[in-house]
């Protein structure tokens, strides 16, 4: 299967401006993701999972190491190339939805397509298709402040997928949702993953992680353990993850 993402020996060191105190958030992260992969990254707060995701998303830069997405090394790109890359190849789903309140649901989904100068016809077709798949067709003309958290997150998913990205990155996508909406969202991710979409997700939720094909556990800036789902059911994988975490904490 084609490699979609390669992380090679990623390091990230933060340095405070005034006191010059250095803090190493990532201490050599390396992993690959292939086309159609669904990877969950788990770990305690401060373990480096969001930093890893931000570097993959090109929202932050690594101190050293390589990030290759679809054959392109994003650490060697300039700002403009990164922006273009981000709008064409990546889709984002954030914990706090990151929807623009002055746009309707439809406009929020259409936003990445407008940036790519797509035609009105293509925009309407893609938005309609994604809205149907995510079940938000009836909210298309509403504004984000008029819909529920679950509906907002489904809008964010539709926006993330509207450009048919190489990779979808999700940062705690169920963090602001109740259990019912969380389940619905993860089912949605699973559906798109089954259709071939590569997804990398940072999460604290065992149940959410159990929908992924692989779970990476980060600890103190390095990948400690990797669990593969293989042919296990969601429930069995959830139990395995839970047991692993229980043993680690013990």
């Amino acid at each position: 299967m084609r490699k979609m993402l390669e992380l090679k020996d990623l390091h990230k060191t933060y340095c405070t401006k005034r006191s010059n105190v250095r803090y190493e958030a990532l201490k050599g992260i390396s992993f690959d993701a292939c086309e159609g992969d669904f990877i969950a990254i788990m770990g305690e707060s401060g373990s480096g999972k969001t930093t890893t995701l931000n570097i993959i998303a090109s929202l932050d830069t690594a101190t050293s190491g390589e990030v290759i997405i679809g054959g392109s090394d994003i650490s060697k790109m300039d700002n403009k190339e990164i922006c273009r890359f981000r709008r064409e190849k990546l889709g984002f789903v954030f914990q706090d939805f990151n929807l623009l309140n002055y746009f309707t649901v439809k406009d929020n989904i259409a936003f990445p397509l407008v940036l790519l100068n797509k035609s009105k016809k293509e925009i309407n077709e893609r938005v309609k298709d994604l809205a149907e798949k995510t079940g938000i067709t009836k909210f298309l003309n509403k504004y984000p402040y008029e819909i529920s958290g679950g509906e907002k997150q489904r809008t964010a998913v539709a926006r993330a997928l509207v450009c048919k990205p190489t990779l979808v990155l999700a940062d705690e996508p169920t963090g602001a949702l109740d259990s019912k909406n969380s389940d619905q969202l993860m089912d949605l991710f699973k559906t798109f993953n089954d259709l071939g979409q590569t997804i990398i997700m940072v999460t604290h939720s065992v149940k959410s992680a159990s929908k992924a094909k692989r779970v990476l556990f980060l600890k103190d800036g390095v990948i400690g353990t990797t669990l593969d789902k293989n042919e296990k059911s969601d429930e069995a994988f959830e139990e395995e993850i839970a047991n692993f975490l229980y043993n680690v904490r013990k």
Binding site: L59, C83, F94, L100, Y102, V114, L115, Y143
Partner: protein
């Protein structure tokens, strides 16, 4: 807890929020300085040397009251903006357990510090500037400086009290509104995202009403020709114009933006997309601020350009007020030789030569004239806004003074009226029973008129000879009109304007004991009086315009900071999704430009529509050169537009600096 504790917190708060307080402080300093200078100038004894001292002093005192009222209005408005931003902070105090009286103490000390700083700087600046302002003012007035530099504590007390009262009222208002609100409401007020409004039917109606009000006000303003009697309705029309502007901005413009949004081919273009979507909300939520900018901008253009035009036009207007250098009206013909002697003596004393002396017998009084029948009487009331005056002259006087050689037969008269009275088909006139055939119709003004003052509609009837004039007067005396003849002596002297002014003083000195002199006036006197009055208008116009411009800067600066802080999150999302920095900048620029140039465009429309009123008001102040007024207005519009662009660019830099800070 001790009050010193709250005093310290208040001090720290001001430092923390210095970004918001600084602009307010600068405007407040300039406002109190202006108020003090107005009060100082009005009460300074040196002003008494100015011709028309009473009216000049009155204008300055009215300006003080006007400045106090507009300052108060703006303090309320700016306080509203500042308090909205601070509610979260006050809510946090309440959440930490501070009692309302503690929060009131903080608010009190904040107000006290701000008042102490701006009033101290403002008054010191005023006292420092007073001498220089006085010099500039007297130089503008073309007057010798009589600066009375004594330290006037009263003006300082008055300035401090007026502004302290304003601040106290606003402080109480803030205390009441803060104490009334629930903690949660205070905490959430700043965070509350102003929702994107969909236009309701009432908004559509408001938009249509706004446009209708503007159009209605424009039509009314352009139909008024009687400015003195229509002043109340004119003020009302201008108020309606500004209400209409607010409604048009808040609803009609939003309607247009929404219509553009519906055009998908346009809307789904890269720059239009975010710009239009944000504009709808920003226009709606900023309608009040934009309307205030609209009012201020219109006032600055109208006020400053008209006072500049008035002042710059003074020399030209005053020098040709009378066709000769001056005139003296004498009640008896016998006294005329003595007056002529006085003119010659005054000229000799001041080293000038008398170039020409003319004389005319005039018979004038107020009347009403029916242009359809040609009848002068006291019975018909005309629809005209100014009174009708009939002035009768002999043909000989008229020919001599107008350098003409017209002739009349018995029973014939020449009829002269203002351009706007339709008398082309008039065949005869009836002057209180004395009927004459109109030999010829001419148009004024003639030598007896002050050419740039229209205080009445003048009808001149030129009769064949003095005997006819005497007959008419006798007939009128029989009817109870005892008006005497006026014997007008007109003169021209050689010399510069300053020499003519000295001659004027010498002549008026000689004539003051002449009981028969009804009045004397001259171009030199007109020049001094007009310079004094127009300089005061320019002085007030300049100060008020600067204050208005400062308020505009404050509103733009403040709104840009406020909105930029709210927009940081949106811009971060745009960047995450992959929008280039240049694209974001382009959107911000387009959005802010459309938003902040909207009130300016509307202001230019208002000025163009109100030009008729400006012309009318200028006429009342004796400036009749319309091309000159138009030129002044256009040049000032260009100048203020350049200033506004600089202001806008500064505000835009503040906005983009905040939202793109992390780059």
């Amino acid at each position: 807890m001790k009050q010193t504790f709250w005093a310290k917190i208040a001090f720290k708060n001001i430092l923390e929020n210095k970004k918001f307080h600084l602009a307010n402080l600068i405007v407040s300093v300039f406002t109190i300085t202006s108020f003090y200078l107005f009060a100082f100038t009005a009460t300074n004894k040196g002003l008494a040397v100015v011709k028309g001292y009473d009216s000049v002093r009155f204008i300055l005192l009215v300006a003080c009251v006007f400045l106090a009222i507009i300052s108060f209005a703006f303090k309320i408005y700016t306080n509203r903006l500042l308090l909205k931003r601070r509610n979260k902070e006050l809510g946090l105090y309440a959440a930490w357990g501070l009692e309302p009286k503690n929060i009131n103490s903080i608010l009190f000390f904040e107000t006290l510090y701000m008042f102490a700083v701006y009033s101290a700087i403002g008054i010191v600046l005023g006292v420092f500037l007073q001498k220089y302002i006085y010099k500039v003012l007297f130089s503008l007035m073309h007057c010798d400086l009589k600066y009375s530099g004594e330290f006037s504590a009263t003006n300082i007390y008055v300035s401090l009290i007026v502004f302290a009262v304003m601040d106290i009222i606003i402080l109480f208002k803030n205390m009441i509104s803060t104490n009334k609100k629930k903690i949660i409401a205070l905490l959430k007020e700043e965070d509350a995202v102003e929702p994107v409004k969909k236009l309701r039917l009432t908004d559509v109606l408001k938009g249509i009403l706004g446009v209708a009000l503007i159009v209605g006000a424009y039509i009314y303003i352009n139909r008024v020709d009687d400015f003195i009697n229509s002043i109340r309705t004119l003020v009302l029309a201008i108020a309606v114009l500004f209400v209409g502007s607010f409604l048009a901005i808040s609803s009609f413009v939003v309607m247009i933006e929404l219509a553009l949004k519906k055009n998908q081919s346009l809307y789904y273009k890269n720059t239009f997309f975010t710009t239009l979507a944000k504009l709808v909300s920003r226009t709606k939520n900023n309608a009040l601020s934009l309307s205030v900018i609209n009012i201020l901008f219109t006032c600055v253009i109208v006020g400053a350009s008209s006072t500049i035009a008035l002042y710059l036009g003074t020399e030209n207007q005053a020098s040709k007020a009378y066709k000769t250098d001056g005139e003296i009206n004498v009640t008896t013909e016998e006294a005329v030789p003595a007056v002529i002697d006085a003119i010659r003596e005054a000229a000799k004393e001041t080293g000038l030569e008398v170039e020409e002396i003319r004389y005319a017998k005039r018979y004038a009084f107020q009347t009403t004239f029916d242009e359809s029948t040609g009848e002068f009487s006291n019975e018909h009331v005309t629809g005209r806004n100014l009174p009708d005056i009939i002035e009768m002259l002999t043909l000989a006087d008229f020919n001599e003074n107008e350098n003409m050689s017209l002739s009349l037969n018995d029973g014939e008269v020449l009829f002269i009226s203002d351009e706007e009275i339709p008398v082309e088909s008039l065949e005869g006139v009836n002057i209180y029973g004395n009927k004459f055939k109109v030999a010829q119709i001419l148009r004024g003004p003639i030598f007896t008129d002050i050419d740039n003052i229209q205080y009445a509609y003048k009808f001149h009837v030129i009769v064949k000879d003095e005997a006819t004039l005497v007959n008419i007067r006798e007939s009128l005396v029989a009817q109870g009109n005892t008006r005497e003849f006026n014997n007008t002596v007109m003169y021209n002297v050689s010399g510069s304007k300053d020499e003519e002014s000295r001659f004027d003083v010498a002549l008026s000195d000689k004539l003051k004991n002449f009981g028969t002199v009804d009045y004397m006036d001259s171009n030199a006197t007109q020049r001094q009086t007009r310079y004094a009055r127009n300089a005061i208008f320019l002085f007030l116009g300049a100060f008020l315009s600067i204050i208005f411009i400062m308020y505009m800067i404050f509103i733009m600066y403040y709104k840009q900071i406020e909105e930029a802080l709210d927009d940081i999150g949106n811009v971060a999302i745009m960047k995450k999704i992959g929008m280039y920095k240049t694209e974001i900048k382009k959107c911000i620029f387009a959005e802010n430009s459309l938003l902040f140039f909207l009130p300016v465009v509307l202001a230019f429309c208002h000025v163009a529509a109100c030009f008729n009123v400006m012309k009318g008001v200028m006429k009342l102040f004796m400036l009749t050169d319309m091309d000159f007024i138009r030129l002044c207005v256009i040049l000032f519009c260009v100048a203020i537009f350049v200033v506004y662009m600089l202001m806008y660019y500064g505000a835009y830099r503040v906005y983009s600096g905040i939202v793109l800070k992390e780059d």
